[in-house]
Symmetry: C2
Subunit: 359 residues, 2 copies
């Protein structure tokens, strides 16, 4: 079986074993004579899938009974709107940390529904870093503090949760969800589009603490946009195949030894790659050293032409998806959970050879 | 290969050939060494999928350059909100025809954003029929007339588009999309959750006429909820696998001979089933004869106990998904495009035997 070294930023590589399992039962789910895609979401098979995915996620992340898990649609871009729609309004303010393209989009939506305090911005430094705790300005009485835990485009990531002065954190964790342990008790809400570490595009995982959920507004709200609508029941047809696949990915994480084991593997992959970048000045990491992402490793070469050549020669070795985001250029190696260590090794070997030929 | 006779109302049966193709290339899409689920939505492979699906849909439905096609998320339940969010507002009114559970949900959302005129309601007749044209009350200057072309729960369906007095039709076509030819020029918008005739749950197909789209409000709108955001570009990550699968379903419809051929097969399947229901009083159709659905055939038996027995004995023959919606009871046979004629024949044979044993 031919599998490429897939460094795509998202949609991105999924565990081979999970794809194989999905493939094997695609036309006959557990002897039903139907695909999981063909079964009613109110039937026993899908209800079990939903319950398993919820239980596995809670167990893996250490989420207690004070958290609800929702499987929604529309990606983080929909959450950018739903969060302020539910938790802001006349006279209410939230604190947003502006660390990149996705943070900016979240801020734009929040301003439609309430007041926004910008507790930090690295925009005038081309988003090359995330804040240290002492740089964050706080606002008494803010409804929540919103941050983007990992910035795919600029290759930055918080080492740990930002200080929030006891205000609930709301996190867009789309691009490092399930890649490392998090301190769940500090969050009012964590949301993530699935298409990096969790499954195919089209499922959005929302984890919400009950006491935070209780503050969602309930007057004159659109049913589908209201978080309480989705708690404890399937309000509308969920993205069945996506949740099914997510459940298999969670099982795969269990088989890896849990999130801590996955985190250690991710650390090792990232360390190997950054060590090669830091060897001399041929490769230059674009993020500040203390803000570097373990998920998206962004770097430049001495010239645009060499970057083009790098992407082209890499692709010939099936090292795919290495071109940086169209808004910043350069090289981006996305090294999500499912990317094997062997793919990082192959990339580093190629980088060594490319430098020695062109450096 | 074991395939059940799948009469589920949705998610529901998909063409076996399409599932087989998706299965065959699930780990290696066209020699890339990646699943289509693992490829960037900005890459050439997915861009081609998106373009093919759009072109095929336009060709099959006879949609000219005056229509846009969007692939969104969140199902019809999200469109219930997006339609009035975009096209209603202070002082604006829309006409809604109330023919069942889904119509009512659409009306509830519309009232949050503007005024609603109820042009017809069959609620006091337990939604057993859709209106004749002369029963519809019109409203001068309405922004649109909204109707649900097929009502899955009550088993009713419009024979053709309702009269609208030149006001653009907006149609929730979720449960009969692509099952028959429609007069596209009468519509401002057609939307459908994919999970009946179009593919797996998680893709929403939106067809919108450009002159209608031009009336969408643009001031202070949430980016993701605004239709213009999604025209001509992928604003956010689409549900890649769902659109890929939808494209294969469209190819399958082409191979059946197009929508007209599918419609004829659907008519024949429905006629065979209704003929059995109408043979005597043992089975009783719940919808008025002139409002009967070709997609969801709903009927009762002489007693609740016999209905339970019917569902149980049918399941033993792999005639699955026949239990009526929890809100109305009885029997519901959903006979979507992908359900083979042989499955309807098997059901009818079973019905004959069941009557002769219990009638």
């Amino acid at each position: 079986m031919f599998r490429s070294h897939n460094f795509s930023a998202g949609p991105s590589i999924l565990p081979t074993e999970v794809l194989q399992k999905a493939q094997a039962e695609l036309l006959d789910y557990k002897g039903t004579g139907s695909s999981i895609m063909e079964l009613s979401h109110r039937g026993p098979e899908y209800i079990e899938v939903d319950a398993q995915a919820t239980a596995r996620l809670k167990s893996l992340m250490g989420l207690g009974d004070d958290f609800e898990v929702l499987f929604l649609q529309g990606g983080a871009s929909t959450q950018f709107m739903m969060v302020p729609y539910n938790f802001l309004g006349e006279g209410k303010t939230a604190n947003y940390l502006n660390t990149g393209t996705w943070s900016k989009k979240a801020i734009k939506e929040a301003k439609l529904f309430g007041k926004v305090h910008i507790g930090f911005s690295s925009e005038d430094e081309n988003f090359g870093r995330v804040p240290a705790n002492h740089e964050i300005s706080h606002l008494e009485g803010a409804e929540y503090l919103h941050f983007t835990s990992n910035n795919t485009i600029f290759g930055t990531q918080y080492r740990s949760e930002p200080e929030s002065n006891d205000i609930p954190l709301v996190c867009d964790a789309s691009s490092d969800f399930l890649s490392r342990e998090v301190d769940v008790k500090r969050y009012g809400m964590i949301y993530a589009g699935a298409q990096k570490n969790a499954g195919p595009a089209g499922v959005t995982i929302v984890i919400i603490r009950k006491d935070f959920l209780a503050k969602a507004r309930t007057e004159n709200v659109s049913t589908i946009l209201s978080y309480p609508t989705h708690v404890g029941t399937m309000f509308n047809t969920p993205p069945v195949f996506g949740v099914y696949f997510f459940n298999l990915v969670l099982e795969w994480i269990e088989n890896q030894g849990g999130i801590k084991a996955v985190e250690q593997a991710n650390e090792a992959k990232a360390a190997h790659l950054y060590a090669e970048i830091d060897k001399d000045d041929f490769y230059r990491g674009t993020a500040h050293a203390d803000s570097r992402s373990r998920m998206n490793v962004t770097f430049r070469l001495p010239s645009d032409d060499l970057e083009k050549q790098f992407v082209k020669e890499a692709a010939a070795l099936h090292l795919d998806g290495l071109k940086g985001h169209r808004s910043v250029g350069g090289i981006r190696a996305s090294i999500y959970n499912a990317l094997p260590r062997a793919s990082v090794d192959t990339l580093v070997d190629f980088m060594v050879a490319f430098r020695s030929k062109n450096g």
